[in-house]
């Protein structure tokens, strides 16, 4: 039995209102590839952030090579031989490969005040050889390289740093590495990882379960902040993993299913063959009044880009959007708003609100033209409007003049919703509407969504979990790699389980 190189025992981590990790045990052995799977929101990224020292756990022990450690930050982790490679790559684009490889650690190549670039290049070549990039000229600028190369260079950097600091058997965490790779590149990556396994351990995070199954020595499944399973190679197959990932269903009332009204009335939004090159293609949808449609898919599925096109912040390459029969061209958010579409963004603080301004200003942003007496704005009318929406949306705030920064996440979200309702948006796009909101406020948002749908608004929603998507929507569209692959009805009383759906998603 190989000795564990990294061990987490009883790790718990919470944020205001959310318990992200609940007493998680994780073991990474020497010379193994550990696959880590779980839905969005299961806690994978929080767990990894604890592993690389970005977060301090609230409870639990962290052992490296048998000894307990307290990491002060990611630098400590890297010095101890634990590092993470992000899929977008973390390299300075205007510097060369070797500059990035040895960034901040060039002391070994210094001759007096000058850098011996020849020696640096040799060392770079040797290191790159280890990751299969022996033919890459270390002096090339990183900026023009494809994502696959960048990932490899980052792996090379981590390996080199662990050598530099004398940490044996480094732990490399790869976060969704294959999302940006072509198939041939994926094969090459797996080959290299197989080689690297001989002197390092790898944590491989991916949604592509077939890959995880074929590559990993062990698979850990995370759900709702808890490790639900730790499977050896050969004991796991894709269907069983899927089952473990989604687990039990919540009570129907959690999503206020009894209030689900279903589509009625005319088609409010009609999308035909919408495409955005490189992101998604052939997206079509007929959204009726009162209907709630969920867009489901992984990162890279294209659903966020669809919503951006609907919101007007991105122009599609082809296809059409019609609002109540009238074909519209959105060249900016202003056009989408004029057509009655409102987007509630995933990032409230930066894209939904002006947190330094007060509640009233945020609510009235879109409807100032209605608050005029003559050519000037009337503070009285503004106040009236603000108070109306505060009460209607049940926003808890001491006064309309309170700065939004002081409100809770849930109340901030309500302000954003109020803004669009005040503007009489007929079609709402909700991007992760309950993210970062505590359970009580979530319920209020679900209720609100039901009320809006009953009032005839059409809603497109993208949720944090599959469960939430299924629970809220009348039907869901599953997107994968830029295409809509399946439409699944979710009528009241006849909801599919996440298990039924997940097969199409991953």
């Amino acid at each position: 039995m190989s000795e564990a190189i990294l061990e987490l025992r009883g790790i718990s981590k919470s944020f205001p209102g959310v318990a992200a990790l609940k007493s998680v045990d994780l073991r990474v052995d020497r010379n193994e590839i550990l696959g880590l799977v779980g839905e969005n929101g299961a806690g994978k990224s929080t767990l990894m952030k604890v592993v690389i020292g970005f977060y301090r756990a609230d409870e639990g022990k962290y052992l490296l090579r048998g000894e307990e450690v307290a990491l002060g930050g990611p630098d400590d982790a890297i010095r101890a031989g634990v590092g993470m490679v992000f899929q977008e790559g973390c390299m300075v684009p205007n510097l060369s490969v070797m500059d990035n490889l040895f960034l901040a650690n060039e002391r070994g190549f210094a001759r007096g005040p000058l850098i011996d670039r020849k020696r640096m290049a040799e060392a770079a070549r040797a290191q790159l050889e280890e990751v299969g990039l022996g033919s890459l000229d270390p002096r090339t600028s990183v900026g023009g390289l494809p994502a696959s190369r960048k990932q490899m260079i980052e792996i090379a950097r981590l390996l080199w740093l662990s050598k530099l600091y004398g940490s044996e058997n480094p732990v490399l965490i790869l976060d969704e590495p294959t999302t940006v790779l072509q198939e041939s590149e994926t094969e090459m990556l797996f080959r290299i990882l197989g080689e690297l396994k001989k002197r390092a351990s790898i944590i491989f995070i991916s949604h592509r379960l077939e890959e995880v199954v074929s590559l990993s020595d062990r698979i850990v499944v995370l759900k709702d902040g808890v490790v639900v399973s730790d499977l050896e190679r050969g004991k796991a197959d894709v269907p069983s993993i899927e089952r473990l990932m989604v687990g039990h269903e919540l009570a129907a009332e959690h999503y206020r299913e009894t209030m689900q009204a279903g589509p009625r009335g005319v088609v409010a939004l009609s999308v035909r063959d919408l495409s955005l090159s490189g992101k998604f293609e052939g997206f079509s949808l007929d959204l009726r009044e009162g209907e709630i449609v969920g867009l489901v898919g992984l990162l890279g599925s294209g659903k966020e880009d669809v919503c951006r096109c609907l919101g007007g912040s991105e122009a599609p390459s082809s296809g059409s959007i019609s609002i109540r029969g009238r074909v519209s061209r959105f060249s900016s958010p202003k056009d989408a708003i004029a057509a009655g579409i409102g987007v509630i963004p995933i990032d409230r603080r930066n894209e939904g609100l002006a947190t330094s301004l007060d509640v009233a200003s945020n609510i009235n942003l879109l409807v100032l033209s209605r608050m005029r007496r003559g050519p000037f704005l009337s503070p009285a009318l503004e106040r009236k409007s603000a108070l109306k929406w505060i009460s209607e949306c049940m926003i808890k705030t001491p006064s309309p003049q309170t700065a939004c920064a002081t409100l809770s996440g849930g109340n901030q979200q309500k302000v954003v919703i109020a803004k669009w309702l005040a503007a009489e948006a007929g079609i709402l796009v909700l991007d992760h509407p309950t993210r970062g909101i505590d359970v009580g406020a979530k319920d209020e948002i679900y209720r609100r969504i039901r009320e809006l749908s009953a009032a005839g608004l059409s809603i497109i929603v993208m949720c944090d979990t599959l469960e939430e998507d299924i629970g809220l929507s009348d039907r869901i569209l599953v997107m994968k790699d830029g295409r809509t692959v399946r439409e699944i009805p979710c009528p009241r009383g006849g909801k599919p389980t996440p298990l039924d759906v997940i097969g199409y998603v991953v």
């Binding site: 919101g311 007007g312 912040s313 900016s332 958010p333 202003k334 989408a336 708003i337 004029a338 987007v343 963004p345 930066n350 894209e351 939904g352 609100l353 002006a354 947190t355 330094s356 301004l357 007060d358 200003s361 942003l365 879109l366 100032l368 033209s369 005029r372 050519p375 000037f376 704005l377 003049q401 309170t402 700065a403 803004k419």
Partner: protein, 312 residues
């Protein structure tokens, strides 16, 4: 919005009181009627150019060309006053608006940072002023009446102060009670969100620069009128002064907070400071040292660091 404006404004008002006290202690003449008049004259000019600069700073930008606009306006004013009489006033106001609009177009259409864009236009406009007249121009004899509209008084109240007050009212109403003024605040507070909410960022930016040009033009008119002359270097020192007026009043350079009321207090403070330092006998250039330090301190205090992750 109001909350954010009140705290710094109390600080500024406190400063104001302290300064008056200090300077009076330094030299009894400070509070004389004559000196008070001198101060208020200067304040009117600082106020006009400061109010314009406030518009730009509230969107998160800066206008380094206000001095050149003032210079250009003063020269043009002197050139046309003979021929246009009282129509010279609206004429040069348009010149100011156009200059500001030029800034707005360059910054918003070409999408370059405002401090570089206005650095560029400052050169262009100053060139224009020098081309029109390299040497100082005086008010032609027969136009004294026109200029004295500005220099005169109605009862005990000087016209200059009324102009200052009127300018303040215009800008205040713009900021508080018009959509475009509100748009400027939204954009300064969160430009990304404003864009996604359909606000016309380019238009708001254009208007903010145009208003800055207008403010500079008014300041230029008043200044030339009180001096009975116009020349291309007249506006030089007002870039620093306009920024100082805005930040000392408590408006943050990060945008979205503060406002015209702050600038009013800032103008009063700067007017007193400038005058007081001279009365007490501090060298004009030592004053510049103080101003520089004052600006740095004021910005450091009001800057909203949460807005910018990376300070460049």
């Amino acid at each position: 919005m109001k909350r954010a404006a009140i705290k710094p404004i109390y600080i500024s008002m406190g400063m104001f009181a302290v300064l008056v006290g200090a300077f009076t202690a330094g030299d009894g003449n400070f509070l004389s009627a004559y000196n008070a008049q001198t101060i208020l004259n200067a304040v009117a000019i600082l106020l006009a150019v400061g109010l314009g600069q406030t518009c730009v700073i509230m969107t998160g930008g800066i206008d380094l060309s206000v001095g050149s606009i003032m210079s250009l306006v003063s020269v043009v004013f002197m050139l046309v006053i003979g021929r246009l009489g009282a129509w010279a006033f609206p004429f040069v106001l348009v010149v100011g608006l156009a200059s500001g609009a030029l800034n707005g177009v360059i910054v918003s259409r070409l999408r370059i940072p405002s401090f570089i864009g206005t650095l560029g236009t400052q050169g262009i406009l100053l060139s224009l002023a020098y081309l029109l007249s390299a040497s100082p121009l005086s008010v032609p004899e027969n136009s004294y009446g026109v200029v004295d509209i500005v220099n005169g008084q109605v009862g005990p109240i000087k016209s200059v102060w009324m102009i200052g007050l009127a300018t303040f009212m215009v800008f205040f109403v713009l900021q508080r009670f018009t959509r475009i003024g509100r748009g400027i605040i939204y954009i300064g507070a969160n430009e990304r969100m404003s864009y996604l909410s359909g606000l016309d960022i380019d238009k708001a930016r254009l208007v903010s620069f145009a208003m800055s040009g207008l403010g500079a033009a008014i300041a230029g008119i008043v200044l030339s009128s009180t001096l009975y002359s116009g020349y291309p270097s007249i506006g030089g020192v007002y870039v620093l002064n306009s920024i100082a007026v805005v930040v000392v009043g408590g408006t943050a350079m990060t945008g979205g907070a503060g406002g015209m009321l702050n600038t009013l207090v800032g103008a009063l403070i700067m007017g007193i400071l400038n005058n007081g330092m001279t009365v007490v006998g501090i060298d004009v250039y030592a004053q510049q040292v103080f101003l520089g330090i004052l600006v740095i301190v004021a910005v450091a205090v009001t800057f909203d660091r949460t807005k910018l992750a990376i300070i460049k």
